[in-house]
Symmetry: C2
Subunit: 223 residues, 2 copies
DNA sequence: TACCATCTGTTAAAATATTAACAGGGCAAA
DNA sequence: TTTGCCCTGTTAATATTTTAACAGATGGTA
C-alpha cells in the first residue's frame, strides 16, 4: 500500500473502523448473492445507520463509487481488507476453553481468512494435549513458547474471573500484541498492547434499561 | 422513585448507562471483599477511564459521595439498581440453544437478580420439551404463547444467520420489548422494540487493525 | 436538447462525549 | 490553628461523532 493511503488510515476514527468491519461483513453476503454494485443507502439500511455516514466513512478511506451505480462490492471488500487485515494474517489464541471459549472458537473459526485460531489454553488436564473443535489445546505454562512458535498476535480471554491476573501476566510475558477480553473482569495491560473489552451483561442491562424506560413512558402517556 | 429522579434518568447518555452497568459490576466485587467506600479514581482505574468521568456520571444520576471517604458502595449499588433494573425484574429468553446460546445462558444465569432466563427456543426436537442448563426449551411456534405466559420482555438471539428473518418475525409477533442480537446478521425490528447488536468479529477485527497499525509504526520507527 | 430524478463527495453545522480547570471542604500533620 | 493535601462536584473547553446541506455529475426521458 502506498504511504499516502497509510496516512489516511492512521487517523481513522475508532467508530469508522468498527463500521468498516460491519460493511465488509454485509458486502460479503451481497457478493455471495451475486450482487455487483451497492448504493450507500443500501449499506446504511442493513446497518441501521444513515447513508451519509456510509459515504463519509468511505470518503475517509479514499474510496470512490460510481455515480448512479454505487460502489463496486468486490473492490470495496478488497479495500477494507487492505485496511483491516495484515497481509500475512494474524494468529489468535483462545485462553480458556470452557463453554464460552468453545462457543467463541466455533463462531470465529474459518470466518475470516486473515484471522486464524491456532491454539487454545486451559488448565483442565483432560483438554491439554488434545484438540478441541480442531484447535490444539495447551497448558498455561506453555504459553510463552507456543505464542512465539505459532506467532500468535491476539489473545481472546474467556477464563473465570479468578484466573485473570495470572492469565494477563502470562500473556504480557509471552509478548502478545492485542487482547480481546470477554470476561466481566477488566484486565490491565501495558499500553503497547491493544485492549478491547466486552461484557454481555452490560449489553443486556442496557437493553433492560431502555425497555424499562419505554414502559415508564407508556405508563405516563396512559395517564 | 420520585418524579424528579425519573426526569434525571430520562436524558442519561447511552454511554453513561453502559458505564453504570460496569460500575455496578465492579462495585459488587468490592462489596464482596468487604470494602465499604470507594474513590472515583479507584473506580476509574478498574474501568480504564478517568476519575472525572466517573464523577460526572455519578453527578448525572444525582449521587453524592462523602468528601475524603468517597462513595458508599452499598448505596451506589442500590441507586444504580434503581436506574437500570425494573422493580419486578425482566424475564429473558434465549433464541437458539446452540453453542453460543448455551454459553450465553450459562454466563448470564444467576448473574443478576432482576434478569432471569426463563426459556430457550430451538428447532432441534431433541431439545424441545427438555431442560438445558436448567432452562426449559420450547419450539419456535410456541413463542407467542410462552412469551405471554412467562412475561418475557427481552430476547437474546443466537440462531444461525438463515433463521434470522423468521425468528425476528416471531419475536415481533410475540410482543417482545427488547432484543439483544449476538448474530452477525443485523435484524430489523419496529422502533418500539429496543435493539442492541453485538458481533464479536467486529471486536476481533478492531483489535487486529490496531495491532497491525502498531506493527507498522514500529517498522517506521526502526527506519 | 433540456429537464428531472438520483446518486456521490464534501464542507459546514449540530449533537455527543470527554477532558480540563478549579472552587469548596475536610482531615491530618506540623 | 494553620498549612497542605486530597477528595468531590461542577462549569467550561475541547474533541469526537453524527447529521445537514448542497454542489457536481450521470443517465433516462420527453
Amino acid at each position: 500500500m502506498v504511504k499516502e493511503t497509510q496516512n489516511l488510515i492512521k487517523g481513522l476514527p475508532h467508530k469508522t473502523i468498527e463500521r468498516l468491519s460491519q460493511y465488509r461483513r454485509a458486502l460479503l453476503i451481497c457478493l455471495e448473492k451475486g450482487k455487483e454494485y451497492i448504493f450507500s443507502h443500501e449499506i446504511a439500511e442493513i446497518q441501521h445507520i444513515t447513508s451519509v455516514q456510509v459515504r463519509r466513512d468511505l470518503m475517509l478511506i479514499g474510496y470512490s463509487g460510481t455515480l448512479r451505480k454505487g460502489y463496486n462490492i468486490k473492490e470495496l471488500i478488497n479495500l477494507i481488507g487492505n485496511i483491516i487485515d495484515s497481509p500475512g494474517g494474524i494468529n489468535v489464541a483462545i485462553i480458556g476453553m470452557g463453554n464460552l471459549g468453545r462457543a467463541v472458537s466455533k463462531y470465529l473459526t474459518h470466518k475470516r481468512q486473515k484471522l486464524t485460531i491456532v491454539a487454545g489454553f486451559d488448565i483442565n488436564s483432560k483438554k491439554i494435549g488434545n484438540e478441541i473443535l480442531g484447535i490444539p489445546c495447551y497448558a498455561p505454562d506453555e504459553m510463552k513458547q507456543i505464542v512465539e512458535e505459532k506467532k500468535i498476535g491476539i489473545a481472546i480471554i474467556t477464563v473465570p474471573a479468578t484466573k485473570i491476573p495470572e492469565t494477563t501476566k502470562r500473556l504480557i510475558n509471552a509478548g502478545i500484541r492485542g487482547v480481546l477480553n470477554f470476561t466481566p473482569t477488566p484486565v490491565v495491560v501495558p499500553d503497547n498492547i491493544f485492549l478491547e473489552e466486552y461484557d454481555m451483561i452490560t449489553s443486556l442491562e442496557k437493553v433492560a434499561f431502555f425497555v424499562k424506560q419505554a414502559m415508564i413512558e407508556e405508563e405516563e402517556n396512559r395517564m
